[in-house]
């Protein structure tokens, strides 16, 4: 399985968080990441990694109910696929297994 980049990982996590309220789309994903990390992203910055995630099948798009603000049009939303979840888990496990071997940072640095 392909290892996710940090950007991709953050986007996947944001989609996971937001998909339950059917709110995972470009604007919200970006806002969520900015809110959590405190780093400003360019508006268009998420589309390139997002496209990659879509093309690899980690994320799939679906259409929302018609939305009043958009003049009754549907919105394209995203949700994780099983592969996406697996990829996230893989990254997490990889991190964990590496962290395991490292002497606790806190104790050495203090």
């Amino acid at each position: 399985m392909r290892l996710l980049s940090r950007k991709e990982e953050l986007i996947l996590l944001a989609v996971w968080k937001l998909q339950d309220q059917d709110q995972a789309y470009g604007v919200t994903i970006r806002e969520y990441i900015e809110k959590m990390s405190g780093i400003r992203w360019l508006f268009g910055a998420i589309y390139s990694p997002l496209a990659r995630l879509v093309e690899h099948g980690y994320v799939e798009s679906y259409e929302s109910e018609p939305i009043r603000e958009r003049g009754g049009r549907k919105k394209i939303l995203y949700r994780l696929t099983a592969d996406g979840k697996k990829a996230l888990v893989a990254v997490k496990e990889l991190h964990a297994s590496i962290w395991d071997d490292i002497y606790p940072i806190k104790e050495t640095s203090d």
Partner: protein, 860 residues
Amino acid sequence: MYIRKHKPPKLCSRFLGKLLRLSIRDAAIEDFEEQYTSIASNKGLLTAFLWYMFHTICLIPSYIKDNMYWSTSMFKNYLKISLRNIKRHKGYSFINITGPAVGIACCLFILLWVQDEVSFNKFHENIDDIYVIVTTARFGEDTITYPGTPPALGPAVKEEYPEILNTARLQNGLNPFSLSYGDKKFREGMNLVDPSVLEMFTFPLIEGDPHTALSDPHSLIMSERMAHKYFGSENPIGKIVRIENYYDFKVTGVLEKIPSNSSIRFDFLAPLSFLEELRGKDYMSSWGNLSFRTYVQLQKNIPFKSISQKLADRLHREGEEDVDVFLHPFKRLYLYWLDMGGGHIEQVRMFTLIALFVLLIACINFMNLTTARSGNRAKEIGLRKVVGAYRADVIKQFFSESILMSFLSLLFALGLVFLLLPVFNDLVGKELTLNLFGNPVLALGLIGITLLTGIIAGSYPALFMAAFKPVNILKGTLQSGSSGSRFRKILVVTQFTISITLIIGTMTVFKQVVYMRNRDLGFDKEHLIYVPVAKELENNYEAVKQELLKSPDVLNASVTSHRPTGIYWNGSGWDWEGRDPNVNPLVTHLCADPDFLETFKMEMAEGNFYPKGSTIQTDDPAIHIIINERFGKIIGKETFVGERLIHEDDNFIIAGVIKDFNFKPLWEEIGPLIILLPLPRRVNFMFVRINSINMPQTIGYIKSVFNKFSPESPFEYRFLDEEFERLYRSEIRTGSIVSSFTILTILVSCLGLFGLASFMAEQRTKEIGIRKVLGSSIQEIVLLLSKQFLKWVLLANLIAWPLAYYFAYSWQRNYAYRAGLGWSLFILAGLLTLAIALITVSFQAIKAACANPVNSLRYE
């Protein structure tokens, strides 16, 4: 219902869409719109628009990165496939690469040559301000235009008009002078010039001061080569050189080597004032002698056309109403002559065109072979398309393939040029060097040509292959080889049309050269040698002649003022009884002694030549002259002997009419001529007719006679027929350049034909097998395979003939005496191409026809 008020401009969102990946394109555009709307309603439209644009532009870097990634990875694939194809089909690849390599090499040669031609004279620092004064002189109804001016004009206008910074006169039409230093005696061409030449032009001196080097009337500047010839390793400055065994000149300067791209060339420079000594005090103040070339340097940024009028006015004030002068930029002189046509630009254009033709023919080979063999690639294209390649991708693939091919050819071409540059230099008589790094124009031009080759060669195959329908290909209904065959036919016909046109062109040039060599000039130029007559023999030539004739191998001898290779001692203003006032011919003058007629083996049309032993009596009230038939025609009478001619108060009586003979190169018509008995200071050459046997001894004898009579002067001799040969050097050179290009075009065309023929034979292996089984003979099959190619070549001939006729005809019009074109030339070119094509094709055809049908049919 909620209606959205603010939407970003359509154009902007379309541009945004182009930057985004397809998979998220719609979603992202909608997101951008949503944000735009909210900004627009909070902060105003302008802010929203700026925000939109800013974030769109921010996407460009990632777009480029993304695209590069994909195109390079695809390109890698294209490259791999191309290289595999080249490797697998070595024969065809050889044709595809060597053809364009030859074409590119030709272009490179021509580019080098053109660069040299265009750079002519540009090394002068003041080139932009230097002009040459050109004269248009009227003679009755005729005018001639040439860069000759009266000697008085230059100094007069320099004094009068402040716009003229400087003028310089050059006189290089003088007969060679004898120069001697110690025991070194030679005849040398000398240029007599104004001292300002060294300031106006960039001719730096190695030794000597350019400001004073020519101020003394007896000072002499020589080239480094000549300084070495006369003085060896001694310092030339201050040495005394004796000229014409009479005048002592002091060497005051040594010239740096004149660049090869200079049209003004000389080995010796002496002040123009020397002419006053030679020809009399008033010679240099003449307004009627148009034999001096005058260069003018204007102040910066002065429109030269306004000066032209002033110069003409100055001349008219001296009463020269029949002469007009104007300025012509010196920098245009070499390439464009006097803007009257001619000039080297015609050659530049012709050779450039021919080089491009060679390249085009090579490109056509590539197109033909690639499309003919497209069947072999069809499956690949079909599969590419099925898995998602667009038409544009296939086009890209074939373009990258052809460009790869053209760059491989470039490598070959560079190798070829390196190898053949000495040969080419020999051919064009230049010293060109290939230095790509020091010559950015050349390097860029070369890359440009290579890219262009790739694009032209790839254009048709790319479009042709991209149009394949995958369904047809994969179903196997695509008939390979037959599709696009009509276009291929047109291309082959084009190739051969170009080749045939060039063949006929080459033949025309050589036919003209042969014609000029062999034409009856009106006299016998074989076995005629001439010796320049030294000044001290001027009054003594009769004794020299008598001494020469003592040898049985010297048949005849005669002194003349000029050589018949080109006499330009002209004058107008001849009058006779009953002259039409509009007729004022420009008459050429020649001095010759009574033995002239016999020595040159000429004939009289009327009357007799001068009786033996007669000399000119300048105090005679009526001087006897001989005219030629052409002049007689202008005078227009029944008989001429005894007729009177008047020229500037002098009376002349026609003693006889000589039959017309060519006294100018054959591109000029025979004009009116008068022959006088030798005038003082007009005895320049002794022509000696010798026996064809014992030539070395005879020449030795002649030398001993001359050394006896003028021991101080160098003895030099030339054969007249060799002099004529030199006249046609430029034709011979043009002919050999064109013919080498012609051979290359034929070679490349045949290469293509060969490839095409072998492919077609390959295609029809089974057909041939069946035909043979059913009883066809080898001849029939060879005919079958060759027939269509021959048809194409025949068609090409039909197209090429009128084209070639037009070009050859307009080229020959430059010559007064033309060889003519004649049917034989065209037929011969046609037969030649047919034969070459037949040999090329039949090689393959015979191979195919001789193959055992068992092998080709075994698997059916």
